[in-house]
């Protein structure tokens, strides 16, 4: 009994020393605020819940970029400065999340390799607004205004969907996600490339 008490005492003393030391550190770091907020690693493996999370999005877009960049279609597209566009990814899972995150990342990573892409339909309003403002408002210098009828169409289109299967027992939840991605020749409708990424997540409850 005595020995147990002795150790717990020692731990208590140690913890208090540690706390003092930590408090000392805090004054030197360039942070403000005393709440429990902290910044983490955006690239860390996130295992908070089985819901679709940042790691899933990152893994999916990485695999799709790696797959796409190897295709001859994308390589000639880069060489010949042809254009790409992305249709919205269909979310067929039971959760809500913004699927644009996936296509945006894929497009960003491809664009770093020299792929040129055109804006998709849901950004069109801003584009036409600005085009109209410059050409039809009469406010702009003729030599400095853009011309209409010059927008370029894409040759290829990215399309995809994400689905999930969820299984639950009293103590286990298992989620299986499957992201399917396709590269389609817009003129012909031929699917030139397709790939999928599977993810399994399980949690004990």
């Amino acid at each position: 009994m005595e020995s147990i008490l002795g150790t717990s005492h020692r731990t208590y003393v140690l913890t208090s020393i540690l706390l003092v030391a930590l408090a000392g550190c805090q004054t030197t770091s360039p942070t403000t605020g005393t709440s429990g907020v902290s910044y983490g690693d955006a690239k860390a493996v996130e295992t908070v819940t089985t819901d679709l999370g940042s790691t899933d999005i990152q893994m999916i877009s990485e695999k799709m970029t790696q797959g796409l960049i190897q295709t001859t279609e994308i390589q000639t597209l880069i060489k010949k400065r042809q254009l790409l566009m992305a249709s919205p990814v269909q979310n067929k899972t039971s959760e809500y999340f913004d699927t644009k995150m996936i296509t945006d990342t894929v497009l960003n990573q491809l664009s770093k390799n020299g792929v040129k892409y055109v804006i998709e339909a849901d950004n069109m309003q801003n584009q036409t607004d600005e085009l109209r403002r410059q050409t039809q408002s009469g406010l702009y210098d003729k030599t400095k205004q853009v011309k209409t009828g010059k927008m370029q169409g894409a040759k290829f289109r990215l399309d995809g969907s994400i689905s999930s299967i969820i299984k639950k027992t009293a103590d286990l939840k298992d989620v299986y996600y499957k992201m399917n991605f396709r590269l389609i020749d817009i003129e012909t409708g031929v699917v030139e490339w397709s790939d999928e990424k599977e993810i399994r997540k399980s949690a004990r409850r």
């Binding site: 493996v45 960049i69 990573q109 770093k112 020299g114």
Partner: protein, 477 residues
């Protein structure tokens, strides 16, 4: 007078030949191209001579040679396709090119005589012959062995304005092919290769070719040895006239090629099981426990000490030479000196030293050939802490379509499942990162099993990589 040259000697081996002494039996074909008479860019003087001399030497050693002088893009492509056809399905081929060469976006191009002065980088890509494409074609043809000698201008033959936007000052990019290869530049980066050793020098060949030629007909000299000898001769001779020219060898081949096989070939070539199974696309060496065992066996196979065989048996009780070792112990103990002829046939072909493939025994020995020896697995790994249960047992890297392909084999030596977190870091040749931080990726490696990580670099700029590994069982250090 100087002719600025670069020479790439690229050695592609899709299969390691157990013995090139029998090389005469297989088809040996060569395509030799020399371009002097450029229509729109600086003409050259000795490329055609170089090509003709090399062709003559190759004929002497039994090659069926096709020579083309001053050819345009169409003819070059046609000839290359024919050449690929001729070496396909297990032939042995040598490709030699003398003329102008260019590097654009890390890709090497051979320039045909009819190329227009390019205005943009794309013009070169459209009009010149891409080296990676040629290498891919050869790899797909499944030739037994292909040797590429590209002796082309190391300077930029284009006008200054175009030159600045197109070429780079670093000369040709080091080319990687799907198979192992050796690359030799006649001059290092930013160096000019000499055409002659002064005005009184009437030799019809450029410096590199004239040193390389005699090596072709020497028996028992492997191509990599020939390259190294050529290199030291070129350095020496260039220095004698006060010029700095250091051909750079990049060797990533596993096998070796002999123009004329000789006494040396039978002992230096070894086909080990791992290579025979087609694992030849090594840039980073593979750790093969079998090969480790083999080299152990090799070191003791002629021993007269029974302890050596007992050591082997204690280490590899079920090893492939266990039975043999047991017999040897008995034989040596009975002082019957028949150990030299006791080797059964089944063992003989694998008992020669496995020097051609580099094993990952700690510390892994460097690849035997070339000045730039292949880096070991450890140099490509960044373990966060020391992983106790997981080991990277094989690591391969090749370049395809200008993208790096990496394959890593992770072995779990414990019986329980292990969690692994990994990501890659993509570097250029100067060690700078060329891609954003990758997300960590989780992976489960089952107990006592292996798992393969297969990735492609997300960017064309990557020429090197690090595999960063972390496992929750890691002990920090």
């Amino acid at each position: 007078m100087k002719r600025t040259l670069f020479i790439i000697l690229s050695l592609i081996s899709t299969l390691l030949l157990p013995n090139y002494a029998s090389a005469a039996a297989e088809s040996r074909v060569a395509l030799v191209i020399g371009n002097d008479d450029y229509q729109n860019i600086v003409k050259l003087e000795k490329a055609v001579n170089d090509a003709n001399s090399v062709a003559a030497e190759l004929r002497k050693v039994g090659f069926d040679v096709q020579v083309l002088n001053n050819v345009g893009q169409k003819k070059m492509n046609q000839a290359i396709n024919e050449f690929v056809q001729r070496v396909s399905g297990g032939g042995v081929g040598v490709f030699f090119f003398a003329g102008h060469g260019l590097q654009i976006n890390n890709q090497n191009f051979l320039v045909p005589v009819d190329m227009d002065t390019p205005k943009e980088a794309d013009d070169v890509a459209d009009q010149a012959i891409s080296v990676p494409v040629l290498q891919d074609k050869l790899a797909l043809a499944k030739a037994k062995y292909t040797l590429l000698v590209l002796d082309a201008c190391r300077n930029n033959p284009l006008p200054k304005k175009a030159g600045r936007s197109i070429g780079t000052t670093r000369g040709l990019a080091m080319t990687n092919s799907p198979s192992g290869q050796t690359v030799l530049y006649s001059a290092g980066a930013n160096q000019e290769a000499l055409d002659s050793l002064g005005n009184s020098d009437k030799n019809p060949n450029g410096l590199f070719t004239r040193e390389f030629l005699p090596m072709i007909s020497q028996p028992g000299v492997s191509s990599t040895e020939a390259l190294k000898k050529t290199r030291s001769m070129v350095i020496q001779k260039a220095k004698s006239v006060g010029h700095e020219q250091q051909p750079a060898i990049y060797d990533q081949s596993d096998g070796d090629f002999y123009f004329v096989s000789g006494p040396a070939s039978a002992t230096t070539l070894a086909a080990t099981p791992s290579v025979a199974q087609g694992g030849t696309t090594m840039v980073v060496q593979a750790v093969d426990p079998k090969a480790l065992e083999l080299s152990f066996w090799d070191s003791i196979k002629d021993s007269k000490q029974p302890e050596d065989y007992q050591d082997y048996l204690s280490k590899y009780p079920d090893g492939q030479f266990a039975q043999l070792a047991k017999r040897r112990v008995v034989a040596v103990n009975q002082t019957v000196s028949r150990s030299s002829d006791a080797t059964p046939n089944a063992v003989a072909p694998v008992a020669s030293p496995p020097t051609q493939i580099a094993m990952g025994s700690p510390p892994p020995p460097a690849v035997n050939t070339g000045s730039a020896s292949s880096p070991s697995i450890a140099s490509k790994l960044e373990e966060q802490g020391k992983m106790n249960n997981l080991k990277v047992t094989d690591l391969r890297a090749t370049k395809q379509n200008n993208l790096m392909r990496i394959q890593a084999e992770i072995s779990n030596i414990s019986s329980g499942n292990q969690q692994l977190y990994y990501r890659f870091k993509w570097l250029d040749r100067d060690g700078f990162t060329v891609w954003e931080e990758e997300p960590w990726k989780p992976m489960i490696v089952y107990g006592n099993q292996k798992q393969i990580i297969n990735v492609v670099s997300p960017t064309f700029k990557a020429t090197d990589f690090r595999l960063i590994l972390q496992s929750p069982d890691s002990t920090s250090n």
